[in-house]
Symmetry: C2
Subunit: 251 residues, 2 copies
Amino acid sequence: MQRYFIPAEGWQDQYVTISGDDAHHIIRVMRYQKDDQIICNHPDTNAAICRITEIEDGVVYLVIEKWLDENVELPVQVTIAQGLPKGDKLDLVLQKGTELGAYGFIPFKADRSVVKWDNKKEKKKQERFTKIVKEASEQSHRNRIPVVYNPMNLTELIEESAHYSVKIFAYEEEAKVSEYLSFSKIVSQLSKKDRVLVCIGPEGGFSLDEVEKLKTHGFMAVRLGPRILRTETAPLYVLASISYHTEELGC
Amino acid sequence: MQRYFIPAEGWQDQYVTISGDDAHHIIRVMRYQKDDQIICNHPDTNAAICRITEIEDGVVYLVIEKWLDENVELPVQVTIAQGLPKGDKLDLVLQKGTELGAYGFIPFKADRSVVKWDNKKEKKKQERFTKIVKEASEQSHRNRIPVVYNPMNLTELIEESAHYSVKIFAYEEEAKVSEYLSFSKIVSQLSKKDRVLVCIGPEGGFSLDEVEKLKTHGFMAVRLGPRILRTETAPLYVLASISYHTEELGC
């Protein structure tokens, strides 16, 4: 069944009202009609099977038929701070990362990010990002849509990191040479209260200054397998591994 | 250090000769000169640091300086049979799957594959696929380049599957309702001799006929976490999980 995330103002008692892009999708793309069913997600993470009672002037009216008792969110909150990569790789990280259960995404303006963030285009970019994570949440049948933060520089990221209980960064050089907690050890010790922040460098990796500052502020260096992953593949490895460990391996 | 996979005929005693696209890349893109070092991989999976001794007429001559003792291949051989997806998603699976350690890829002509394989364009496609996995192997510093098979239909895939010791397919409906070995249970039991074949449906999933035939021929249904993954994300989840379990968790 098709799923839509409906803003809080669309919900009244046992009724749901959908307008805008979602209504367009329901009417024009899916060609749903009176009595067809869809799943509507409330921003509070609850979801219900709803039946269309009327379609008028591009607005869809529904009645709630059955609240669903399902939760497919990752047991731990994992936020990906992604060093701004080239081209449309951030789009890929947002889409695949959402499917894999990320709680949020922070675009990180890293020293070696080749792409400079254009503040003029920020609003349009944020709109595109919001659309990508909403659609990926609907398609993967998640209970909530991940947050996409405004881009942060290192100082802002470190300030933000105070809100997280576990902080790691992908840096296999460090992981090779010095004492470190392995990635699997960190994942094994995660509990449901944990908020995990994962920092991934851009194509050129982290600068030495960034490495020092991340370490000073409690970020642990990890390697993600023995092969060198591209910047956009690393967050997917992290999320898939945490899902595998907490949701499939049952630890 | 930049890495290149050099065909067997390029190796003689302690010398390596590189021509063609790789020579072009060395001379024109990387602008290497006499005395610069690169890593050359032999098709037998060994690799050596080599020093450029001469560049002449678009051919690069090198001397082997040091054989490397490194192996970053996944401990088990995992081949992905990917239901032919739309657009350039197969390219994504090949590139990311190579980084994540896949042993091989079989494009699978599934009942619900919207894209029909065009035999006329097959040679060009195979050339592109070969280029993608070679470049991804070089970038991720693998010891070998994954095989990309010619596309197979279900009958051919089942015939091929006789060469594998563990066969799974991603099918969360089946995994929900009936007795099944969980994905993590299967991964936990893998040993180094195992050859694993993982079958992934296209966008529309497997047909009931395919499900029946796969089950009859020993393929086990697994779910890959509780969220619905897109066809191109599923193989990455499988490979990352197997890498995590066998290379990071150390089981």
